[in-house]
C-alpha cells in the first residue's frame, strides 16, 4: 500500500507541478493582430474608408441620377433596372458604415478621451456625423443612441430620424469646441490624411457639414426658427466653410498595386496591367448626362465621359436596346485621372454649391451668384478641365443659356444652383445628387426605360438591410412596412 501512496504522490506532483507553472499557459498573447492601437493609427484607415465609401459605394445612384447606364455587354437583373429591388440591395450603405467606419470613429473618440487628445476626439465626432448622415438619408429612422455598443446593446433600438439630425448639430458644436479647446495639444499630423493636421480646415469642414445638415431640412414646414438659430452659431464661429481649393480629399499615398490604388480608380477604372476592371466595362455613359453637357457646351463632357469612335454616345437607363461597349462612352478621364488620384470625401465645388444655395436662401451672408460661379470653377478644376478658370468663366458667361447662366434664369435660382450642383457631382458624389433630387425634384431626371418599370418614380429610400431582419428583427419590423417610393425620409416634402 505504501507503494501506491508514493506513486500517487509522484503523480499528484507531476500534474500540480505542471499546472502551477503559469508560463506554460501564457502562450495566448496574439502574435498575429494588434490588440492595442493608438487612436491616431486608426484614423488613417477610417478616413480612407470614408472616402472610399463616398466614391465607390453608390454605383446604383450613378445610374438613377442620369450619370451612368448599364453596359450592353452584361446581363443585368431586371430588379436593378425597374427599382423593384429587395432588402439585400446595396446593404453596404448600412453595413460598411456601421461596422467599418462608425465603429472605428467611435473607437477613436473613446481612446482620444482617455488619452486626453481633444483634436482627435473632435475629428472622430465630426466624421461620425458625416457617416450617420448617409445612413439616415438612406433609411430614415436608424439605430443611433443604442448603436455601436457591441453586445452591451445587441438589439439596438431605432431612433427618430429628426431627433438624430438635431443631435448632429449638437455633436458638431461639441466638435467645434474641442477643436478650439485642443489647440496646441496633440495633433495627429500626417496621420490625418484628410487635412494633414490643419485644424482651421477641420473647423471649416465642421461648418460645411452643418450647412449640409441644415439645408437638407429646407423644405420642412415649421423648421425656420430652428434653422436660423443654428445658422447664428455657424456665423459666430467665424471660420466659414470650405472654399476654393479646399477639397476634403483623402490620399494616404496610393500605389500602383492591386488593392492599393485610389478607390474610384480601383473600383471603376483599371487594373495595374492597364486593362479595364469589370465595373469599368459595366458602367457606361448615360444619354441624359451626355445630352446635358452637350447642350450647355460644357467641356466637362470630356471629363466625365470618354469618347467612342470620336464621339460621345450612350443610352438612357433601362433602355432595352442597350449598346455594346464598342459603341458607348466609358467613364471619362476627368474623374478617372490616375491610380493615385485623391479620393473625394467632399469636393470644394460641393461646399461652394451648398454656400450658394444658403446665400440665395438668405441663410448666410455672401453673394449667391459669385459663390455659384466659384463652385463651377472649382468643378472645372477638380475634373482637370484644361485652363479651368478661363474655361469656367467662358462657360458660365454664355449669354442666355438656361441651366448655366445666372442671369438667364430669372425665376428659380435654387433650381439653377441645384442643376449645376448635379452637373458637378457626376460620379463624384451621386448620393448628394440623390438627396437634392429627393428634396427638390431637381433636375427632372428620366425614369428607367425598362418596360417592367411599373412605378415611374425614382425611389425615395432603400429597404432596411436583410441583416436587420436576420439579427434585429423586432426593431426593424417596428418601423412598419416600408415602400421604396412612398416611405419618405423625414426631410422630404
Amino acid at each position: 500500500m505504501k507503494k501506491i501512496i508514493s506513486i500517487l504522490g509522484i503523480f499528484t506532483l507531476t500534474f500540480v507541478g505542471t499546472s502551477c507553472k503559469d508560463d506554460f499557459f501564457d502562450v495566448n498573447t496574439n502574435p498575429n493582430d494588434a490588440v492595442n492601437v493608438p487612436a491616431e493609427l486608426i484614423l488613417p484607415a477610417a478616413l480612407q474608408n470614408s472616402a472610399s465609401y463616398v466614391s465607390t459605394n453608390f454605383q446604383f445612384l450613378n445610374l438613377w441620377m442620369g450619370y451612368w447606364n448599364w453596359s450592353g455587354n452584361y446581363s443585368i437583373n431586371t430588379s436593378d433596372k425597374n427599382y423593384q429591388f429587395v432588402n439585400t440591395f446595396n446593404n453596404g450603405i448600412w453595413n460598411t458604415q456601421y461596422v467599418s467606419l462608425l465603429s472605428n470613429y467611435n473607437g477613436i473618440e473613446n481612446k482620444a478621451i482617455e488619452a486626453k487628445q481633444p483634436l482627435l476626439q473632435a475629428m472622430a465626432k465630426t466624421m461620425k456625423v458625416h457617416g450617420f448622415q448617409y445612413v439616415v438619408d438612406t433609411y430614415n429612422n436608424v439605430p443611433y443612441t443604442d448603436a455601436l455598443k457591441g453586445t452591451t446593446s445587441i438589439l439596438p433600438k431605432y431612433d427618430d430620424a429628426k431627433t438624430i439630425y438635431e443631435d448632429f448639430i449638437v455633436q458638431l458644436d461639441a466638435a467645434m469646441d474641442l477643436f478650439t479647446k485642443g489647440a496646441g495639444g496633440y495633433n495627429p499630423g500626417a496621420n490625418d490624411i484628410l487635412f494633414h493636421g490643419d485644424i482651421s480646415k477641420w473647423k471649416k469642414f465642421v461648418n460645411t457639414l452643418k450647412l449640409k445638415v441644415l439645408l437638407r431640412q429646407s423644405e420642412m414646414a415649421g423648421r425656420d426658427i430652428y434653422i436660423k438659430a443654428q445658422l447664428a452659431k455657424i456665423k459666430s464661429s467665424n471660420v466659414g466653410f470650405l472654399g476654393a481649393d479646399e477639397n476634403a480629399n483623402v490620399n494616404p499615398g496610393y500605389l500602383k498595386s492591386t488593392g492599393k490604388q485610389s478607390p474610384f480608380w480601383e473600383t471603376y477604372g483599371f487594373g495595374i496591367n492597364g486593362q479595364p476592371v469589370e465595373a469599368n466595362n459595366v458602367n457606361r455613359a448615360n444619354l441624359y448626362g451626355i445630352t446635358f453637357y452637350k447642350q450647355a457646351n460644357d467641356p466637362r463632357l470630356e471629363a466625365f465621359y470618354a469618347p467612342v469612335g470620336g464621339a460621345f454616345d450612350g443610352r438612357f437607363f433601362g433602355d432595352i436596346d442597350v449598346l455594346p461597349n464598342s459603341k458607348t462612352s466609358a467613364i471619362g478621364p476627368g474623374i478617372l485621372k490616375s491610380f493615385d488620384q485623391d479620393a473625394v470625401l467632399l469636393g470644394s465645388h460641393e461646399s461652394l454649391f451648398l454656400q450658394a444655395e444658403a446665400a440665395e436662401r438668405g441663410w448666410i451672408t455672401g453673394d449667391a451668384k459669385s459663390l455659384y460661379q466659384m463652385a463651377i470653377t472649382e468643378s472645372f478644376k477638380n475634373t482637370n478641365v484644361k485652363d479651368a478658370t478661363t474655361a469656367a468663366t467662358d462657360y458660365y458667361s454664355q449669354i442666355g443659356l438656361k441651366n448655366v447662366s445666372w442671369d438667364a434664369t430669372n425665376a428659380d435660382k435654387i433650381a439653377l444652383i441645384i442643376t449645376q450642383k448635379w452637373a458637378s457631382l457626376n460620379a463624384l458624389n451621386p448620393f448628394e445628387a440623390w438627396c437634392d433630387y429627393r428634396r427638390l425634384g431637381i433636375p427632372s431626371l428620366p425614369i428607367s426605360k425598362d418596360p417592367s418599370t411599373t412605378i415611374k418614380k425614382i425611389p425615395a429610400r432603400l429597404f432596411y438591410p436583410q441583416s436587420e431582419f436576420n439579427y434585429n428583427a423586432d426593431n426593424v419590423k417596428g418601423q412598419g412596412t416600408i415602400n421604396q417610393f412612398d416611405s419618405k425620409i423625414f426631410w422630404m416634402r
Partner: protein, 1084 residues
C-alpha cells in the same frame, strides 16, 4: 524446421515440452466451421497437465498424450473453446465455431485500455478492418458509412480527394466543432489524418458514441470518439507478406435535370427580337431562352478567324443542327475516372512482440479532365516485451499530391458553371472545341460570348489548384508491470501535417478581331481585352505533441475486481500559415510571385495552445456481472484567462449482466445474455481558437500605403471572460442476445450543451458583424437500434448474415443570447481550400443555415414568395401574386424550411456466403432533412434547368396562387397569367429570387457498397508452395440512389463544405458519381 517453430511457439506460450517416450501422438487439423479454412495458432492443451501446442500455418497440430482418458481443449481468440476426450483416436480434426452472442470480447476502449464487453456502461460499436475495406474505399471514412447506428458520415463533395464530415449522435455545439475525435493507436490525432490512413492497415475501429470517454480523452471526446487500431503482426511467428491491387472506375451517375427543348437566347434586343416580340436564336449566348429546337442547321458562335496557308484570315463559323444532342454534351464533358491502388504489407509476430511494415500507393484521376490525386503511405509498427517492460512504436508517413482545375480567368467560375452555361445543342466535345488552340476552341473563337470554354481551364497549366501534403504521425510508449496489479505506462505522440499549396491562373489574350466585338455582343474579349496571370502560394503546418502518463492499478478483492487508472495528459498545438499572392504576373507561364507587377498580397498566422489534463478512472466489478465506473478529469488550458482556465468534469456509468445476475434468467435456454447499462457524463469543452479573448486591430483596405499605416477594428467583438461550454449527456440502453442468432442493442441518449461559445451574428448597427460570447443551449436526443442476425438463412454451404442499424437523432436549440431568435452558421472559406476557420477562428461567408430557438438544428432559413400567412384563412399557404404582372412578390422575412440534419437513418449490411464466394451489400436510408439546392437557381438563370422549360416557356397562371382583394381577402387566381413565362420569369421574378424555391427534401436511399469476393481454395494454392491466400473481388460503391422526384439537382449528401452549415449545394461541386472495380489480393 517445423520442430524448431513448434518449440518457439511452445516457448512463446510459456509451456514446457516434456518428452515421455511411451506417450502416443495425436494429430489433426483445426478449421473454422464457418468456411472450413484452417485456423493458425489455435492453442491445444491437455487438461490437467502443462502440455500444449499450437496449430501451424496449415492448421495442423501434433501433440503427445499419455493415455486415452486425456481431455484436449482447443481454444482460439474469437472462437468457442471445444473439448474432446482423446479416446482411442490418433487423429482428431476439429471445426471450431466462431463465438457468437457471448459477452466476453475484449474491446479496446478509451486510451487503448482494454476492457471486457461486460463492463462497458456506454455504447461502443466495433467494425473490423476487413469489413471497412471490403469495397475498396480510398478513404477510411467511406468504409465506415452506414455500418453502425449513431455514426453519420457525409461525403460533402466528389472529386479526387473528397471532403467528409463525421458526426456521432448529431450535433451538440451550435457553431463549434461537432466532429468526432479521432484516436489512432491511442494517440489523439487531427481528423484530417483520416484521409491519409491506409484502410488496409486497420485492424479494427471502435466507435465510442457517447461522451463518457471524455474523462480519458479530454474535451474533444464530447463528440464521441473514433478509435482506430492499426494492424500489429501476422498473428503468428511466421511472417506474412500481403499484396493487393485494385482498380476502380468512376463515372457521373447522373446530371441535374437539363431541358432538351430550347436553344440560346439571353434576352437580346435587335436583331434577335422579331416584329412580334419573339425571341430568336442567338448563336453566341450562354443562356438557353431561345426558340424551340427544330433541327435546322444553324451557326454556333461568332464568325471565327481561320488562318489560311497564305497567311491571310478567312471568316468561318461552326454549323450545328439546332437540336439537342443525343448524348448530353454537358454530361459527356466529365470523363470516366480511374483509381488504382497497390498495397504491400510485411507482418510478423503477435501479441506484444511484433513488427509490421506496410506500403500503399493510390493513384486517382478525376471526372474533371486532368484532375489527379496520388497518395503514398509508409507505415511501420513494432512492439517488444521483455520481462516486465513492454514497448511499442509506430510511425506513419504519408505524402499526398493533388492537381485539380481551378476557376476561369474571367470571373473565377468553376468548371461546372462553365459547362452548365452551355446549351443542349452545342457539341462541347467536338474536337475543334476541345482543342483550345483551334480557331473554334481558343479564347477568341469559343462560341459562348460570356463564359470561357471549360476546356480552357482544364487544359495544360491554365488554371490549377496544386496541393502537396506531408503528414507524419508517430508514437512510442513504454510500460512497466510492477506487479500483477500495477502497471505504469508513458506514451508520447506527435503529428505534423505540412501543406504546400499553389493556385495558378494563366494569362488570357484575345485576337483583335474578338476584341472588336464584331457582333456587338459585348463579349468577354471586348470586356477583358487582356488579363495577366496570377499565382498564390499557401504554406501551412500544424503540429501536435502529446504526452500521457497512465498508472493502472487493478487489484482483486474476493468477488470484487477493481481497476483504477490515473492519468496525466499534456498537449501542445502549434499551427501556422503563410500566404503570398501576386494578382498580376508579367511573363506568361512563370508562376512565381517575384514575376509580378505591383505589390504582393501577404498574410501570416501563428497559433499556439497548450493543455494539461489530469484524470482518474475507477471501475468496480462484482462477480463479473455488475460493474460501476466513475471518472473525473480536470483540464487546464492556455486558451482561456487564468481565472477560467481550469475546469473539472465527472462521469459515471454502470452495467449489469442481468442474465448472470438473476438466477431465473440464467437458465433460460433461448437467452444468450441480457445486459443493461446507463451513465451520465459531463464534459467541459473549449470552443475557442487561440487569441480570442481580446478585440483585435489589423491593417486592411490597402494599408500600409508605403510608410502610411492604418489599423481598423476587427468586426468581431471578443469577450475576455469566455468560459468552457459544458455538455451533460445521459445514456441508457440494453443489449440482448438470443437463440444464438439474434443480437439486439438499443440505446437512448440525451445531451444538453450549455454556455456555448458562439460568434453570433449581430445587427451591424452594434458596430460589429459578430460577437463571440458564451450563450445558448442545445439539446440532442436520439435512439439507436442495432440488430444483428447471424445467420438469417443457412442452407448447407450457403448462409446469409444481416445487420440493420437505425438511428433517430434530433438536436433542438433551447436558447440563444437574450432575445436573439436565431444565429447564422457560417461556412468555411471555400475559395482558398484551406480551412482558415479552424486555424484562426475567423469566419467565412454567412450561409442560409441557422441555429434557431425552438427549431431543429441546423435549421435552413430562406426568404420565400409572399404567401397567405394566416393559418385560419382557407387560402393559407397560397402564393399572393401581383394582379398586373401575374408574378409572385418577394417576402424579405426569412422562413424556416426544415432541418438539414436527417432525423432517421437506416443502414443495412448483408453478407451472403457460399463456399469460397461471398457477397456483401450495404445500403442506407436517410430521411427527415431538407437541402437548399442553390445550384437550381444557377440552372434556372442559365435556362438549361429542366424546371425552366416546365411550362414550355409560355406565360402561365402561377399554380396555387391568389389575388389579394381591396378588403384584404383573397380570391384564387385562375386567369392572370405571368407577364412572361420565359427569360424574365425564370431569371428575374420573385420565384427565382426566393431561396425557398430551391429547397427540396434531402431524403434518399443509397446502395453504398457491393462487394463480390471469391477466395481461391487453399488446397489449390498449396501446390504452389508459397502462395497462401488469393482472393478476387468485384466491388461497387454508390451504385444506385433513390430520391424524391422534386430533387432534380444533385446528391443530397453534398454541401458547400464540411462545416456545420451543411445542406447547401452549388456549382462548386461536380455531378454525383458511382464507382465500380475489382481487387486482387495475394498473401504469401
Amino acid at each position: 524446421m517445423r520442430k524448431l517453430l513448434l518449440i518457439i511457439s511452445a516457448l512463446f506460450f510459456g509451456l514446457a515440452i516434456q518428452s515421455i517416450a511411451q506417450d502416443r501422438q495425436i494429430t489433426g487439423k483445426v478449421t473454422s466451421s464457418q468456411d472450413g479454412s484452417p485456423l493458425i495458432g489455435v492453442s491445444i492443451a491437455l487438461k490437467g497437465s502443462t502440455k500444449g501446442t499450437t496449430t501451424n500455418a496449415e492448421g495442423v497440430y501434433k501433440i503427445t498424450v499419455p493415455s486415452a482418458n486425456g481431455l484436449l481443449s482447443f481454444s482460439f481468440i474469437g472462437f468457442a473453446t471445444k473439448t474432446f476426450t482423446v479416446g482411442s483416436r490418433n487423429v482428431i480434426n476439429v471445426a471450431l465455431q466462431e463465438k457468437q452472442n457471448e459477452l466476453d470480447e475484449v474491446v479496446v476502449g478509451a486510451f487503448g485500455l482494454q476492457k471486457n464487453e461486460r463492463e462497458i456502461g456506454s455504447s461502443i460499436a466495433k467494425i473490423k478492418g476487413a469489413d471497412l475495406s471490403q469495397a475498396n474505399p480510398t478513404n477510411l471514412a467511406n468504409g465506415l458509412t452506414a455500418k453502425v447506428s449513431g455514426l453519420q458520415i457525409s461525403t460533402v463533395n466528389n472529386g479526387v480527394n473528397p471532403g467528409v464530415s463525421i458526426t456521432l449522435r448529431g450535433n451538440r455545439s451550435l457553431l463549434g466543432n461537432n466532429q468526432a475525435l479521432l484516436v489512432v493507436d491511442g494517440i489523439i490525432t487531427p481528423q484530417d489524418f483520416l484521409a491519409v490512413l491506409n484502410p488496409n492497415d486497420v485492424e479494427s475501429t471502435s466507435i465510442l458514441k457517447g461522451s463518457g470517454a471524455a474523462a480519458l480523452y479530454g474535451s474533444d471526446a464530447s463528440n464521441g470518439v473514433l478509435v482506430v487500431n492499426l494492424k500489429k503482426g501476422s498473428g503468428s511467428e511466421k511472417p506474412t507478406i500481403f499484396y493487393s491491387y485494385s482498380a476502380q472506375n468512376e463515372s457521373v451517375a447522373y446530371m441535374p435535370g437539363l431541358q432538351q427543348q430550347f436553344g440560346s437566347n439571353g434576352g437580346e434586343g435587335n436583331p434577335f427580337l422579331d416584329k412580334n416580340g419573339q425571341r430568336l436564336y442567338v448563336p453566341f449566348e450562354n443562356q438557353s431562352f431561345g426558340p424551340a429546337y427544330d433541327g435546322s442547321l444553324q451557326p454556333l458562335g461568332y464568325g471565327v478567324q481561320v488562318l489560311q496557308p497564305d497567311g491571310s484570315y478567312k471568316l468561318d463559323t461552326l454549323k450545328t443542327p439546332y437540336s439537342a444532342l443525343g448524348v448530353d454534351p454537358r454530361k459527356d464533358f466529365f470523363k470516366n475516372a480511374l483509381t488504382s491502388q497497390h498495397d504491400i504489407a510485411y507482418r510478423v509476430g503477435k501479441d506484444d512482440n511484433y513488427f509490421s511494415l506496410s506500403l500503399q500507393q493510390v493513384n486517382k484521376t478525376g471526372i474533371v479532365p486532368n484532375d489527379v490525386y496520388q497518395r503514398s503511405n509508409i507505415s511501420i509498427k513494432a512492439g517488444r516485451k521483455y520481462d516486465k517492460f513492454t514497448t511499442n512504436i509506430g510511425l506513419t508517413y504519408s505524402y499526398q499530391y493533388q492537381n485539380v482545375a481551378g476557376g476561369d480567368f474571367n470571373q473565377g467560375r468553376p468548371v461546372y458553371w462553365n459547362v452548365l452555361n452551355s446549351p443542349a445543342h452545342a457539341p462541347l466535345n467536338d474536337p475543334r472545341i476541345r482543342d483550345i488552340n483551334s480557331p473554334y476552341g481558343d479564347l477568341s473563337g469559343y462560341f459562348n460570348a460570356y463564359y470561357p470554354n471549360p476546356w480552357w481551364q482544364v487544359s495544360g497549366e491554365n488554371s490549377r489548384v496544386l496541393g502537396n501534403n506531408y503528414a507524419l504521425r508517430g508514437h512510442a510508449d513504454i510500460a512497466y508491470q510492477f506487479t500483477d496489479w500495477l502497471k505504469v505506462l508513458y506514451r508520447v505522440g506527435g503529428t505534423n501535417s505540412s501543406s504546400i499549396g499553389k493556385v495558378n491562373v494563366a494569362n488570357a489574350a484575345f485576337s483583335d478581331y474578338a476584341i472588336g466585338d464584331p457582333w456587338g455582343a459585348g463579349n468577354i474579349a471586348s470586356s477583358v481585352v487582356s488579363k495577366n496571370a496570377n499565382t498564390t502560394d499557401v504554406n501551412a503546418s500544424s503540429t501536435r505533441f502529446t504526452g500521457d502518463l497512465l498508472i493502472t492499478i487493478n487489484p482483486k478483492f474476493g468477488d470484487f475486481e477493481t481497476s483504477l487508472t490515473l492519468g496525466h495528459h499534456l498537449q501542445q498545438d502549434f499551427n501556422n500559415y503563410n500566404f503570398i499572392s501576386a494578382s498580376s504576373l508579367k511573363i506568361p507561364d512563370l508562376y512565381n510571385v517575384s514575376n509580378r507587377i505591383g505589390e504582393p498580397a501577404v498574410g501570416q498566422g501563428i497559433y499556439r495552445s497548450n493543455l494539461v489534463g489530469a484524470f482518474a478512472d475507477f471501475s468496480l466489478g462484482y462477480k463479473k456481472f455488475a460493474f460501476v465506473h466513475v471518472s473525473g478529469r480536470n483540464d487546464w488550458t492556455s486558451l482561456l484567462s487564468p481565472a477560467n482556465r481550469s475546469f473539472f468534469y465527472p462521469a459515471i456509468d454502470a452495467s449489469v449482466i442481468l442474465s448472470d445476475a438473476i438466477p431465473g434468467l440464467k437458465n433460460v435456454s433461448w437467452l444468450d445474455y441480457l445486459k443493461v447499462r446507463g451513465g451520465i457524463a459531463k464534459v467541459g469543452n473549449i470552443n475557442v481558437s487561440p487569441y480570442q479573448l481580446q478585440n483585435t486591430y489589423n491593417q486592411g483596405g490597402g494599408f500600409p500605403f508605403g510608410g502610411q499605416v492604418g489599423f481598423g477594428q476587427s468586426s468581431q467583438q471578443n469577450d475576455p471572460n469566455l468560459k468552457p461550454e459544458f455538455t451533460t449527456g445521459l445514456e441508457m440502453g440494453f443489449e440482448v442476445a438470443f437463440l444464438k442468432k439474434f443480437n439486439l442493442e438499443v440505446s437512448y441518449y440525451k445531451t444538453n450543451t450549455t454556455n456555448q461559445t458562439v460568434p453570433i451574428q449581430v445587427s451591424r448597427a452594434t458596430g460589429f458583424t459578430s460577437a463571440n460570447l458564451n450563450t445558448g443551449e442545445m439539446q440532442t436526443r436520439g435512439v439507436e437500434v442495432d440488430l444483428k442476425i447471424r445467420p438469417i438463412v443457412k442452407f448447407g454451404d450457403f448462409y446469409w448474415d444481416a445487420s440493420v442499424n437505425y438511428s433517430y437523432n434530433t438536436s433542438e436549440v433551447i436558447s440563444l443570447y437574450g432575445d436573439l431568435p436565431r444565429l447564422n452558421i457560417p461556412q468555411f472559406n471555400i475559395n482558398t481550400g484551406i480551412n482558415f476557420t479552424r486555424l484562426n477562428g475567423s469566419f467565412g461567408n454567412a450561409s442560409s443555415v441557422f441555429a434557431a430557438v425552438g427549431q431543429r438544428y441546423p435549421a435552413l432559413y430562406l426568404n420565400d414568395v409572399k404567401r397567405v400567412d394566416d393559418p385560419a384563412n382557407p387560402n393559407f399557404g397560397k402564393v399572393i401574386i401581383d394582379p398586373v404582372s401575374g408574378y409572385p412578390t418577394l417576402d424579405p422575412t426569412l422562413k424556416y424550411q426544415g432541418s438539414t440534419q436527417p432525423l432517421h437513418r437506416l443502414g443495412f449490411v448483408n453478407t451472403f456466403h457460399y463456399k469460397n464466394t461471398s457477397l456483401s451489400i450495404v445500403a442506407e436510408y436517410r430521411g427527415g432533412a431538407v437541402i437548399y439546392n442553390q445550384i437550381g437557381n444557377s440552372l434556372d438563370f442559365t435556362g438549361v434547368g429542366i424546371n425552366s422549360a416546365s411550362n414550355g416557356r409560355q406565360n402561365f397562371v402561377y399554380p396555387n396562387s391568389v389575388i389579394q382583394n381591396a378588403d384584404g381577402t383573397f380570391t384564387p387566381n385562375t386567369s392572370v397569367s405571368t407577364r412572361d413565362g420565359n427569360l424574365e420569369f425564370w431569371t428575374n421574378s420573385a420565384y427565382h429570387n426566393a431561396g425557398a424555391t430551391y429547397v427540396n427534401s434531402a431524403d434518399f436511399w443509397k446502395l453504398r457498397e457491393v462487394a463480390l469476393t471469391y477466395t481461391i481454395p487453399k488446397a489449390l494454392l498449396a501446390k504452389t508452395g508459397f502462395i497462401k491466400d488469393v482472393a478476387v473481388s468485384l466491388t461497387g460503391r454508390n451504385l444506385l440512389m433513390l430520391r424524391p422526384k422534386t430533387n432534380v439537382y444533385t446528391d443530397p449528401e453534398f454541401s458547400l463544405d464540411g462545416s456545420n452549415a451543411a445542406g447547401t449545394t452549388n456549382e462548386f461541386q461536380t455531378p454525383p458519381t458511382r464507382m465500380y472495380g475489382f481487387r486482387l489480393s495475394v498473401g504469401f
